[in-house]
Every structure is written in structure tokens, then in C-alpha cells.
Amino acid sequence: MAGRHPMDSSSRRWSRRQFLTRAAGGAIAVPSMAAVLAACDKPGTTPPSGNGTDTGEIPLARPDSPVELPLNGDAIATDTPIEEGATLQVYNWDAYMYKKVLQAFEDEYGVSIEWTTFNNMEEGIQKVVSGQVQPDVFFPTTDYISRLVQGAESGPLIQPLNHELIPNLQANVWPSFSDPGPFYDRGARYTVPYTIYTTGVAYRRDRISDADAEAQGYEMLWNPEHTGEIAYYDSYRDALGMALIRNGGTDPNTGDPAEITAAKDAILEIVNELEGSLRINGTYAKLPEGEFTVSQAWSGDIVGAKYYLPKGTSEDVLGFWYPEGERGLIANDTIAIPQGAKNPRLAHEFLNFFLDEKWGYTNFADWNGYQPPFTSIVPASLIDDKVVAPTLNRAVVTEEMFTTALIQSQLTPEVDKLWLDAWSAIQAGG
């Protein structure tokens, strides 16, 4: 690879969820002028009406009870002309897309892309809701889709897609994500999938043998032998979710206070007794650098971790454990087009572009580490093509895994509060 790899810089923060909150200014959205003006009524008492489109109560989507989201308007017409010379506003996690692919898109359509990032989903959602950011393309997690369809007081927040303008969805994407479509958005009316990933345990193979990893599984993260060398994500759903499963739970969306408390205590054990660290960059940056021996890991993070290995360290030191069968977590991220998009036609092209076999693959293999759900990707060939190291073979995601693995999805406000309270207690250090 001649020249500098674009990822090879300290400013590269390309993880799926950037929780570098410390550098951020503040996330309580400064109340928008609209909110101030709307303050004539007591806030929070007027139900979201959604521009006169009554979407009603949408039931919580679960893998075993998929939801077909009601249409909150019309998709753009197929003959809408592509906005020429436009600036496409993309709102995404930091560095979650390969610059070269974005460049290729700009060149092909003669447009420019303006890239705005958020540090975590809550920040992204708040800024879209308040209108501080008005993107053409947005990357919501699946648990927010139905809420975005219903919208805030100002109306729905994402618009229905015109599938005729996104032929790559039917052509290239796993049927489970295109037809019939995913459980959170049957028929892919509003979203297309972006990446798929599992949540497992990453470990240093030079310190833990594969056999030990296999024998211990999740317990690697709670093994006192690794005191001071354990990293865990600081995202509340992912963190508590894995602790729930490790404790023997089978519902990663549980509302059982006892289970949530036990999960909280398990994470506090990592923080206090095992001197672990809750952070975003444990897997993709600090494990390859050697600071940690074991870490909670999104599969995409560990696949991309090779770019952080110190010079002279073999890729073989990276290992990834993910349970066989039904005790693993799996998820996907999505791309959607907000209602207020100024370039909706170009946005459709953008979605289609990233579902293109070649460009989607380049984005994944040369930069991102997060796999797209393409029928063309043969799991075994990823290892032969050196996209995924042989020692990380469990980080490869297959379509079948989505039928057996556990998926975290939207919670009711009451249950969400239990999770957040548990998370507050963890942040307080107990």
C-alpha cells in the first residue's frame, strides 16, 4: 500500500459509536426557538401529531413480531430529476464511511458531500428532531426507526423510500433485509441496511489461548487473571445487554428489574474489582496496542483493529469469540432519508451507491471493517481475500445468524428508564 493509509492517523475515529463525549461541547440541545415559541402550551402535553398524518401507536417491533410501518407520506416520484451540482448533507458517526468511496460518489454525480458527525445516537437524534442539523442522509439505529416515522411535534422525521430508485436493495441485499425486509421495517419502507455486526469478546491470542477462550466465553471478561486489562463498551444498551446474556438471560430487551440489576452489578464488578475500563476504543485501538487483553467487541471493530497493530505485530494476536447458537447478540445499522432532505433524489442515489456490490464491499474491506449484508459476499472468501484474519473467523456475519441470535430493539419508556437508571448507577461507580 503506497502512501499513507487514510486510516493510519490518530484522528481516525471510525468506530460505529463514537462516545468521545469528553471532547464534545454538550448534548442537551439548546432549546430551539420553536420550542421556546411553543412554550405557550405546557411542553410534553400535546401528542406528536405528525403533520396531520395520523400514524397512531406503532407496536414495538420484535424479531418475532415484525412491524410494517405506516406510510407517513408519499415517496418521491421515480421521474424526479437528480439534483445537479447539489451538496449532499450526510449525517453519520465519525469516519464510518470510506472517504474514497464518498469521493467516487462525488465524482460520478458531480456533486459534493458535506459530512457532519454525531458522537452518539442520542445526540444525532436530538439534533435531527430539533432541526439543528437538516441532513439528506441519516444513519439511525433500528430502535429509533418507528419513532422517526411517527415524528416529533414538527412532523415525521424520515420519509418513505422509492424502491424503484434503489434497485440494488433487491439485487444485492439479503432477502431478510430487502424482501420481506427486517422486523423493524417490513418491506424496507423507510430504511436500507448499512452494516451488520455481532457483539462478542475480543482477546489477545498471545495471552489467552483459543482453547481457553472457547472454554471461558463471556467469562473471559470477568476473569480476575485479566484484572486491569479488561475493556467494555460505554454504550448502555450494548453494555448491559451482554451482561444480561452472560448472566444467563435470554431476553436482551428484558424489563425484569432483577435481571437488569444483576447485569448492572456484573458491570460494576468489572469496573471495581477487575479494574476494567468502560470505553469506546478498547477493541479497535487499545487491544491491538496491547493495553487490554480482553474486551467487549463489535465484530466490525475487531476486523478493523489490524490497522492499529504496532509495527511488527502479527495479525494473529487478535482473536474473537462469539457464541455458537442462541446466546449471542447481533445487530445492524441503517440508512434513512429525513423528511426535510433538500436533495431526496440524490439521497436515493447515495443509498443505492452504498448497496452497490463493488462500492459497498470496498467501503467494508478497505476501511470500515463492518460488513454489509450482501448476497455476493461469501463468508469463507472473506478470509481467503484477507479481509478478515483467519483467527477472526467468528467475526464473519451470515444471514442465518440473524434467525437464531439475540437482537436488541426498542424498549418501552418505562423499561428504558430501568436500563438508564442502572446505567446511572454504573456511572456513579457504586
Binding site: 464534545a24 442537551i28 445526540e123 436530538q126 428532531v129 416529533a152 456513579a428 461507580g429
Partner: protein, 318 residues
């Protein structure tokens, strides 16, 4: 300190001016002239403090948007709800009292770190003011120079120094088993606070010690006091206002500090500021973040009032 004087001043001037205009001539200023000098400061205070703080109150006593749970501030006090506030308060003492430990930690760390700042800072300021001779400018520049580099950069440097395979451990391991400094050790966080805030202690102390009239000290020695006694009876009392000022300047921001622990500690050493930062970034926790801010505000008002009372007393006794 001087605030009592400055507010008294315009009235007196205005009276003089009025007298002059009425009788002996000279410059006359309209009644609004001198008070108008306070306008920029008042505006500053209104826009950058009163208004934001009112917004914080409105968030704390407000509600959340039902679907996305983003904070919805309530600006009308008659609609304020104190449910979240009292719920947050209960986390300090009722049930599991999950917030009690961070509160205790905050006080312990701030008191310890401020004390260390005072002892170290006093020594440095004393030496610079009295014994540094021609090097004093150099020392002062050296004290201020870290500010040329952003605090974040300096703490990142400490992160790598304190890492398990860092230089600090290289030296430390000569004497003891290597330690994982960044895994939530109170000592790391306290020293981090000292490191971050000590210049703010040294500078006012230096200013005060430098201004002590040499003849006072000579008088003390002339009257038979030992050097130690002179220091104790003359220098120290004379520098008391600066000590108080330094303590206030360093301890108030320490109470709200969250990034030092964020970068050098873990949840094991989390302070009140971390709780606020965390709830700000979680969905639906906006009112809780506001409530915690109000708690912090009340906490820092106490030392502030003590400081104001003491300086007022000192000003009167002069």
C-alpha cells in the same frame, strides 16, 4: 472586595457633579451616565449567566419529549414539576443511594487536591516572590507556559506517561510492583486535579506575597521575632486574602470537574461532574442532569459565600 466602593462611588460623584452644575460650574453628567458603565457587565451577567441558569432550572424542573425523551424545558415556573428533582435527591440518601459515593468522593478529592495545591503553591509563590531574584520572571513564565498547550493535550501526555508500560511505571517499578495508574486510582485523579489547577493557586499567592511591605517583616524581626515567628505572625496573616482567593479559584471549578476523571480515572473514581456529564449524554436524563447541576450549584455557593464574607471583613479591617 472593592465592589462596595465602586457602587458607592458613582452616587458620590454624581452628587458632586450635580453640586458643581448647580453652583460652581464644571462638567455635569446626567443621572444615567455613571450607572451606564455597569451596563456591559450587567448584560454579560444576564446573557451568559442568569439566562443559561434559568434554562438549566427549566430543564431540571421541566419534562421530556414523549417519543425521543429529549429534554423539554418548561419556562413557566407555575408548571414546574419537582418529581425528577426529588427523585434525583433520593439517589443521594435513599435506597441504594447510588449517588452518595460520588458526592463523598467529590468532597474528599476537592479538599485534598486544594490542600495540596495550597501547600505546594505557597512554597513556590513564596520562593518566587522573595528569593528568586533575577529569575523570578523566568519562573513566572515557566509557571504560565503550560497554558500554551491545551489542557487536553497535556492530559493525553499524562495518559501515556501513566500507562501500564509508561515511563512512570518504569521508574515506579524500581521501588514497588508496577501499578495500573489509570484504572480508577483516587491518587491519580487527585494529582491530576492538582496538576490542572495549581497555577491558579500560585499566581494570586505570588501577587500577594510580592506586595507585602518589606518593612513590616523588618519590623517583626526588629521586635525580636524569629524568622519562623515573623512568617507565622506577619507574612501568613497578610497573605490570608490571597490564600482564600486561591482556594476559591481552584476548588470551585474542581467541584464541577469531570474531564480529569474522564481521562485519568474510571467510574470507580467518578465525581459529581461525571454524573452530570453522563446524564446530559443519555436520552431522557436531561432533567436529571439539570437537577444535579442545581445540587452542584448549591454546593459551590457555600464556600463562595464564606469567601465573600471573609474578604469583606478583611476590607473593613484595613
Amino acid at each position: 472586595m472593592a465592589s462596595a466602593e465602586t457602587t458607592a462611588e458613582p452616587t458620590r460623584r454624581r452628587k458632586d457633579g450635580a453640586d458643581e452644575a448647580a453652583g460652581r460650574g464644571g462638567a455635569w453628567f446626567p443621572g444615567w451616565y455613571w450607572p451606564s458603565f455597569a451596563l456591559p457587565g450587567t448584560l454579560w451577567l444576564l446573557v451568559l449567566f442568569v439566562l443559561p441558569f434559568y434554562t438549566v432550572l427549566s430543564v431540571a424542573f421541566g419534562t421530556v419529549e414523549p417519543l425521543f425523551r429529549s429534554p423539554l424545558p418548561v419556562y413557566q415556573p407555575w408548571w414546574w414539576s419537582f418529581d425528577t428533582f426529588s427523585e434525583t435527591m433520593q439517589k443521594f440518601y435513599a435506597g441504594d443511594a447510588v449517588y452518595q459515593q460520588p458526592l463523598i468522593r467529590t468532597f474528599a478529592y476537592v479538599i485534598l487536591a486544594s490542600s495540596i495545591c495550597l501547600v505546594l503553591g505557597y512554597a513556590v509563590a513564596y520562593y518566587t516572590a522573595r528569593h528568586a531574584g533575577r529569575y523570578r520572571v523566568l519562573i513566572l513564565v515557566a509557571l504560565v507556559s503550560p497554558f500554551w498547550i491545551s489542557y487536553l493535550m497535556r492530559i493525553y501526555a499524562w495518559q501515556s506517561l501513566l500507562a501500564s508500560d509508561g515511563y512512570v511505571n518504569d521508574i515506579w517499578s524500581i521501588f514497588a510492583a508496577p501499578t495500573n495508574w489509570l484504572s480508577g486510582r483516587p491518587v491519580t485523579v487527585i494529582l491530576g486535579l492538582v496538576y490542572g489547577y495549581i497555577p491558579f493557586m500560585i499566581l494570586p499567592l505570588f501577587g500577594s506575597l510580592d506586595r507585602i511591605n518589606q518593612s513590616m517583616l523588618e519590623a517583626g524581626r526588629d521586635l525580636g521575632a524569629s524568622p519562623a515567628r515573623t512568617f507565622w505572625r506577619v507574612t501568613l496573616p497578610l497573605s490570608k486574602p490571597a490564600i482564600l482567593a486561591g482556594l476559591v479559584i481552584v476548588s470551585l471549578p474542581m467541584f464541577g470537574d469531570y474531564y480529569t476523571n474522564d481521562l485519568l480515572g474510571t467510574q470507580r473514581t467518578s465525581m459529581l461532574g461525571n454524573l452530570i456529564a453522563n446524564s446530559v449524554f443519555q436520552s431522557g436524563q436531561g432533567p436529571e442532569a439539570g437537577s444535579l447541576t442545581v445540587v452542584l450549584m448549591v454546593i459551590v455557593v457555600v464556600p463562595m459565600l464564606y469567601y465573600l464574607r471573609e474578604t469583606k471583613r478583611a476590607a473593613e479591617s484595613l
